[in-house]
């Protein structure tokens, strides 16, 4: 339990709900009360569903009391990024451009699966406009800030789902990742984020950014908690043409088996240049921890690092340009500056350029597959800096310190987890596995988090607020 009395993890809360020391109503209420105290400056929520959440929490308590147990998410409060449809209210994608009727009265498949697993949906969380543009104070939406330092960027675009977990508003957040939107806020807010294999979690009922890249995944305090959420939301869905027709693996059993003997490739090239000493030290200490846990480590490089990063941006802008073509032409100034600049840059990319990006994608996938014949896992820093000030979050220099884009075209699963602090702000590492090897990934995350306590350090919101 933390000083607020909230359990820190789904794993702990789930046990407490079953041994009678906690009720879902108590836990949900405390999270919402905490949001009452702090969300005016933190900006995690776009909308809160107090009434329906407390009703569902009461129902969960009653169900558990009579032995009707839906699994580890039963009675657990969860926030959902506001690009997912939820029947309680409108979906905005944090944009005045999206048709208010979009998804009205419906649930995204992921949301309906969370409900079926007994989760308590406490509200919609802040993002960047259409999961790409930076928030602007002039727009009618909260501007999310970092729970560790309010002047700093919380990361995006799953900003509120990440900051809300760090703040103790809910125990897990649902996010999406097209260029790093789960892993970046996980790193900057000091929580754990899971990017599942492409196709494992359906996007049905999710506002798209880039059709061939978008992925959905959880943010929580631990790898185990992320696994519990993924277990509930993974699986085929006919509404998503890229949904993979395989049942999800059993992610929780075997998560304690450790990583002794696992072959882990350590990436430093292109990732640490110009990083401050504390960033390098935290990464090297994390590598040492993996070694102490019995992994066999050796240095490696990522094939086509700069080329694939470029291919990712070309693909995102092109696909987003197609989706927004009609509205961007008519309502340019209604979009935020960041969103319209990036999506509008699709005008500079030809059809041949887009196809060439997909060819580079294919080459890189093949070469990375060859690399994964040598390694079970690869590790890199998620971001080689702590959270930058809000106004500097998109500077070119800071952009070069985000190491997430490379992976988005590849489709491999990744786990982003906290590894330390610099200047009082969290730092993160990302671990990649072969497609569909989530069990290996989560074993590594679990082992690392049993050996370290970075993921258990939470911001003192009263101090951050000042």
């Amino acid at each position: 339990m933390d000083p607020t009395g909230l359990p820190l993890t789904i794993e702990a809360a789930s046990a407490a709900l079953r041994d009678g020391s906690l009720t879902s109503v108590e836990m949900t209420s405390r999270g919402l009360e905490r949001a009452d105290q702090h969300d005016d400056w933190l900006g995690s929520f776009i909308a809160r569903f107090e009434e329906s959440a407390l009703a569902r929490a009461a129902q969960a308590d009653e169900e558990l009391a009579r032995g009707h147990d839906l699994g580890p998410l039963h009675g657990i409060p969860i926030g959902v990024k506001d690009i997912f449809a939820a029947r309680e209210g409108a979906t905005t994608a944090q944009s005045v451009v999206l048709d208010p009727a979009w998804g009205a009265g419906k649930d995204a498949v992921v949301v309906s699966r969370l409900r079926a697993a007994g989760a308590v949906i406490v509200g919609k969380t802040t993002t960047m406009e259409f999961a790409i543009g930076l928030p602007e104070a002039a727009k009618p939406f909260p501007v999310p800030v970092n729970p560790w330092r309010a002047e700093c960027w919380p990361g995006g675009s799953s900003s509120g789902s990440s900051s809300g977990v760090a703040a103790g508003f809910f125990l897990a957040g649902i996010g999406s990742d097209t260029g790093g939107s789960i892993r970046i806020p996980a790193a900057l807010c000091g929580v754990t984020g899971l990017l599942p294999t492409f196709g494992l979690v359906p996007r049905t009922g999710v506002v798209p950014l880039a059709f061939s890249i978008d992925r959905v995944g959880p943010l929580a305090l631990t790898a185990w908690d992320c696994a519990a959420v993924l277990q509930a939301i993974a699986g085929p869905d006919p509404g998503d043409p890229d949904s993979v027709d395989v049942p999800p693996a059993d992610l929780l059993s075997g998560s304690d088996e450790g990583i002794a003997g696992m072959r882990i490739g350590v990436v430093r090239e292109h990732h640490l240049e110009g990083a401050q000493a504390a960033v390098v030290e935290a990464y090297e200490a994390a590598i040492d921890t993996l070694r102490e846990l019995g992994a066999q480590l050796s240095e490696t490089s990522l094939p086509l690092y700069h080329e694939l990063t470029a291919a990712t941006l070309v693909t995102i802008w092109s696909e987003a340009g197609a989706y927004h073509h009609r509205t961007l032409g008519r309502r340019w100034s209604d979009y935020t500056a960041g969103a319209r600049t990036m999506i509008g840059s699709s005008a500079f990319i030809s059809g041949a350029d887009y196809v060439q990006a997909q060819r580079v994608r294919g080459v890189a996938q093949r070469r990375l597959g060859e690399l994964f014949a040598q390694f079970d896992l690869l590790v890199t820093p998620t971001i080689s800096m702590p959270a930058p000030p809000l106004e500097a979050s998109t500077s070119p220099e800071n952009g070069r310190r985000l190491h997430t884009l490379y992976w988005n075209l590849l489709g491999n699963p990744m786990l982003a987890l906290p590894i330390g602090f610099a200047d009082g702000l969290p730092l993160g590492m990302q671990i990649a596995a072969s497609p569909f090897a989530e069990t290996t990934l989560l074993r590594a995350g679990r082992a690392f988090q049993r050996q370290t306590d970075w993921h258990r350090r939470l911001p003192e919101l009263e101090v951050t607020r000042g």
């Binding site: 294999t197 492409f198 196709g199 061939s212 890249i213 890229d242 993979v244 027709d245 395989v246 086509l304 700069h306 080329e307 470029a310 291919a311 941006l313 070309v314 802008w317 340009g321 073509h325 961007l328 032409g329 340019w332 100034s333 500056a337 319209r340 600049t341 990036m342 509008g344 840059s345 699709s346 005008a347 500079f348 990319i349 350029d353 196809v355 060439q356 990006a357 997909q358 060819r359 580079v360 294919g362 080459v363 996938q365 093949r366 988005n408 075209l409 590849l410 489709g411 491999n412 497609p435 569909f436």
Partner: protein
């Protein structure tokens, strides 16, 4: 710079985007950055890479 401005305005117009003047300098900057990224993509071709068959999904649906 004037040449870039004319090219950028032409491409935006062709894409159906009416971009107001205050945003044009940001779009010129992005035009330059996008051009550099595209050069990187074709540099892979020049290296003589053996291209795999084109596909548009992130992972093979081998299990289907």
């Amino acid at each position: 710079v004037d040449e870039d401005r004319a090219v950028v305005q032409g491409l935006l117009h062709r894409a159906g985007l009416e971009v107001p003047e205050p945003d044009i300098s940001a779009m010129i900057q992005s035009y330059g950055a996008t051009g550099k990224m595209i050069e990187l993509l074709y540099a892979v071709d020049e290296a003589g890479e053996e291209w795999p068959a084109l596909r548009f999904t992130a992972v093979r649906r081998a299990a289907n």
